[in-house]
């Protein structure tokens, strides 16, 4: 069996007295699309930020691509793309300028950077707004720009938090198509509240409640008719 893309063992993350993650064990295989499901406050975003190295674990072990993601030296950190729930962008920058920065920050240079930006603009349907400032783009466009920057440089691991929150159905479908295209063989870890989204995109879903993994398995196994019960009252059945 190959090394997992993400492996957490006894992972804890506390904020004051509250444990956002409590003794979490998780294994995400390379090349899979894993959905993190759970109610608000279940610990999904905290887990994503730990994987991205933006938070330090309070206890336990977390390995991303075999290394701890919280290393200070970027050369030693796992290569990943991260798209946060609310697009955190620079409203004064043009879309193309923002993507040029993202390409440069990932070490792409010259023609390679230009080509990557052009491809990202085309792939994410942003050519029409390439010269528009991000502050004047719709939420859907900003979300796509955030996804486009996360995918630049073709990172092997993509972390996406609520990618379609607040989008209309057309924009949501477009984002789903992009994520589906960007997945295999890359690893995608997706936080979502949307069960349809999880069914459409994920090979495997992990349900978190109060910082613990309460169920894990394929969408067909877990997201049946009474899927909402997993969020509400707990049905501890780690099947995977």
């Amino acid at each position: 069996m190959s090394a997992p893309a993400i492996e957490a063992r006894g992972l804890w993350r506390r904020f004051g007295r509250r444990a956002a993650l409590a003794d979490l064990d998780l294994r995400v295989e390379g090349g899979s699309v894993t959905g993190l499901l759970g109610a608000n406050g279940a610990g999904k975003t905290t887990l994503l930020r730990l994987v991205a190295g933006l938070l330090l674990p309070s206890a336990g072990e977390l390995l991303v691509g075999g290394v701890a993601p919280d290393r200070g030296d970027p050369a030693q950190r796992p290569r990943l793309g991260f798209a946060a729930e609310q697009a955190r962008l620079y409203p004064e920058l043009r879309v193309a300028g923002f993507l040029r920065f993202a390409a440069g920050a990932r070490g792409l240079r010259g023609a390679e950077a230009r080509q990557a930006v052009e491809e990202a603009l085309e792939r994410f349907g942003l050519e029409g707004v390439a010269r528009r400032t991000l502050g004047r783009c719709s939420q859907g466009m900003q979300q796509r720009a955030a996804l486009a920057q996360a995918c630049l440089g073709d990172p092997p691991l993509l972390l996406v938090d609520e990618p379609t929150a607040g989008l209309d159905p057309l924009q949501r479908d477009a984002v789903h198509a992009q994520l589906a295209e960007r997945s295999h063989p890359r690893t995608l870890l997706l936080c979502t509240h949307d069960l349809d989204e999880a069914r459409a995109l994920c090979d495997r879903v992990v349900v978190l409640r109060e910082g613990r993994c309460v169920a894990a398995g394929s969408p067909s196994q877990l997201l049946g008719g009474d899927a909402l019960a997993l969020f509400a009252d707990g049905r501890d059945e780690a099947t995977a």
Partner: protein, 263 residues
Amino acid sequence: MTPFLALVRLELAVLFGSPLAYLTLTGFAGVSALLFLEPLRVYNQLLFAYASTNLGGFDTGAIPDSVNLWDTVFFPVMDSLGLTLLAAVPLVGMRSFAEDRARGRDELLLCSGLGPGAIVAAKFAVCAATVLAMLAVAFVYPAATLERGDLGSAHLAAVFLALAGLGLGLTALALACSALTEHQLVAALCAWALGFALWDFGWAAPLTSETVARGLQALALRPRFAALSEGLVSAADLAYFAGLVAVGAAVARASFDLRRARA
């Protein structure tokens, strides 16, 4: 393009995308011009008053030694420029980290392949370049005075070191304050408070022992700045300003670890 240069370009675009940068630069240029012209006007009036004779002619021999370009124009201009830097530099540095943190963009930067050290270095480079641009305009005035006083290029270089050392030291302090908060105004207020507190500890002398007063004064900005302004370049003064930059950068760098560990 290296990640560092990519962030430098981005920071420049963001800084100069805001009217505050232009207002600060213009304001600094205007204030520094006024600060030069006022002592110059006073100096010219004193010259005229002392040198005028009852017969309507001029007698330069009647001008007392205390009325000279050095004491009447140069020192007041340098002192005022120092204080103007104290006021202006926090405006340049306040948004650097605080705005990113308020908008959650620091996470975007950290996931873009940039390490905390590179982020601090790029932000410092942009703010330092802006402050040096401000100083390039203001440098004209003390330079003109020195030129008129025929004090030579070595002294001119020392004055530039004084202004650059103070400017870069204050930039690092402003960045450190910005790195510890999500509020730009709080960052600016902290940087102003810190800058003015460090400016001169002469007030503490009557309140403390001589040893403590001397120790405090060793930490003060003004004596170092004044010594360089007088043309007295010492390794200790340069090391002091370099140390300020290092401390500010270290605090900004440590703020990333603090945020990741925060409970």
